[in-house]
């Protein structure tokens, strides 16, 4: 796999650790409540709102606002596009992480040959 191809699969939007945490959490849930995501990812309301807006614009996250009784609620869900982007991004990260191990093996083999 070339470096270009590895780079191609990485999603620039998901290189931000907070966004990656949000979509990873949402990948295991279905319509998670805003407060649950905020507490799990350990960010402030405003920081989460900002990241969710960005992900919403990309079409990675669906946002639904409503009420439970008189309490306002916001729910978040990972869209199919978001799920595909996450899968491709994680696969690319895995290849990059694996490449370190392969490079190490090649280096060891070269040292042993000398």
């Amino acid at each position: 796999m070339s470096g270009m191809a590895e780079q191609g699969d990485l999603d620039p939007a998901l290189l931000d650790p907070t966004r990656l945490s949000i979509v990873s959490l949402l990948a295991a849930t279905n319509w998670a409540e805003f407060g649950y995501v905020r507490d799990s990812v350990r960010v402030s309301d405003s920081a989460l709102s900002k990241q969710v807006s960005a992900l919403d614009k990309l079409g990675y996250v669906e946002v639904d606002k409503g009420y439970v009784g008189k309490r306002p609620r916001t729910w978040l869900n990972l869209s199919d596009a978001g799920r595909e982007a996450l899968t491709a991004h994680l696969a690319a990260l895995q290849r990059i992480a694996d490449s370190a191990g392969q490079a190490g093996q090649r280096h060891r083999a070269a040292s042993e040959a000398e």
Partner: protein, 157 residues
């Protein structure tokens, strides 16, 4: 991490993603739900042994609790009212078929062990077999809950 991540950064990002994924999977429902079902199963065992009038209402309550947790909690709003901070996933990480098979296998194992113990104890002349079996079933449920909470690593999803 703004450009191409280094292998160390990639590994750290994968770990963080995996942690978030596992954390979301490890608490699929509020603790009170497990407590309510456990109490109702124990009550069913006791009322069965005592041959009490309460056995039928307790059975209906148990069925209602299971339906609430299995069906109603999938709704965002109703789930929120019940104390679920997220609707239960309709898109399981393991894949729908594998997830169903795992649920059914564990449920079958728990029920078979509980029934087997009840019949075994009854044959041995031990009193309160239904109560003992219900205690065993509750213990198995807790183990079952933990097993189901263990999701696969996010990159396999």
């Amino acid at each position: 991490m703004t450009g191409r991540p280094t292998p160390e950064e990639a590994a750290a990002a994968l770990r963080e993603a995996g942690d978030q994924h596992r954390a979301a999977r490890s608490q699929p429902q509020p603790k009170w739900a497990l407590v309510v079902v456990s109490v109702l199963i124990l009550a069913l065992g006791v009322t069965t042994d005592l041959d009490s009038w309460w056995r039928t209402p307790v059975t209906w309550l148990l069925a209602l609790a299971v339906v609430l947790m299995a069906v109603a909690a999938r709704s965002k709003r109703f789930g929120d009212l019940l104390g679920y901070r997220r609707a239960l996933s309709r898109r399981p990480v393991l894949g729908a078929r594998e997830e169903r098979r795992k649920h059914l296998l564990l449920l079958l194992l728990a029920v078979l062990v509980a029934i087997g113990v009840q019949f075994g104890l009854r044959a041995a002349g031990v009193p309160f077999t239904a109560t003992i079996a219900s205690v065993l079933l509750v213990v198995l449920m807790v183990v079952w809950e933990r097993l189901l909470g263990r999701g696969k690593d996010v990159r396999h999803g």
